[in-house]
Symmetry: C2
Subunit: 154 residues, 2 copies
């Protein structure tokens, strides 16, 4: 099914790209380039990070992935290009999909003459795991990136 989709759009299905597409297929974890690289490297030890970036950009231009600007400091990628929104845990930075259609429109008075083409909602909150460990030094729950930890106070 993948093969057909890229025929005749100037996109060569190299083994590296196949591996990336394979990793992305149905992946709803919103991985960063680094994460994709790490995962794909296991099957493909000579893979270069640059190839990951190149491929992601090629896919983005073809509308096959969405680039999320939701995490300060790094991009995340979403193979689901259909309309949906995201719920972000301010504790561990986990991102989950929100598949609800809120038909939003900006009232003329606020539109400043822009031609509006789309929208994206970020909901913020605490996931069950992070909510639990709020109190003392319970080291139990989710492992948070050093960056996420430093950002405490959101």
């Amino acid at each position: 099914m993948i093969m057909e989709r890229y025929k005749g759009m100037g996109f060569k299905l190299t083994p590296q790209r196949l591996a990336i597409l394979d990793y992305l297929e149905g992946n709803d974890s919103h991985p960063s380039a680094e994460e994709i690289y790490t995962a794909v490297s296991k099957k493909f030890p000579t893979m270069s990070l640059a190839t990951v970036y190149n491929t992601l950009e090629a896919l983005r231009l073809r509308g096959e992935v969405r680039e999320l600007t939701v995490d300060p400091g790094k991009k995340r990628f979403d193979p689901d290009t259909g309309p949906h929104h995201h719920l972000i845990c301010t504790g561990c930075r986990r991102i989950v999909d929100v598949r609800v259609d809120f038909s939003l429109s900006v009232p003329t008075g606020e539109r400043r003459d822009f031609e509006i083409t789309g929208n994206h909602i970020e909901f913020y909150g605490l996931c069950p795991e992070c909510r639990g460990e709020a109190g003392a030094g319970s080291r139990s729950a989710v492992k948070r990136s050093s960056r996420a930890a430093r950002k405490e106070g959101d």
Copy 2:
């Protein structure tokens, strides 16, 4: 008015910080750290970029500025911490405020047990200037950053 607000919260009002606060006061251009630095440097030639970052972080922790993750590759800062949303021109990356209250809530089925604390809507579109120059090579309108130019295809 500024002075009082920071009394007794462990925040010294140094001249550098005053200059930054002064630049931010009522500023709705959503500047990056670099832009703040450039502006404040004029009045304060010895200012260090690190001081800008330090001050912004101190302000963020006190809830006096919001860090926007709206621009891939750099943070932008918003001194307006009240609830509002943003409209982003995909041509020139200009960001304007949208002061409308959409009371959104995530239906239980999609909430995944998160405790939701807030939300932020990004509207995308083309500003009048960028809409105009869409056609030929009319060099007239807005100057776009090299990064914005490269991102064509959003």
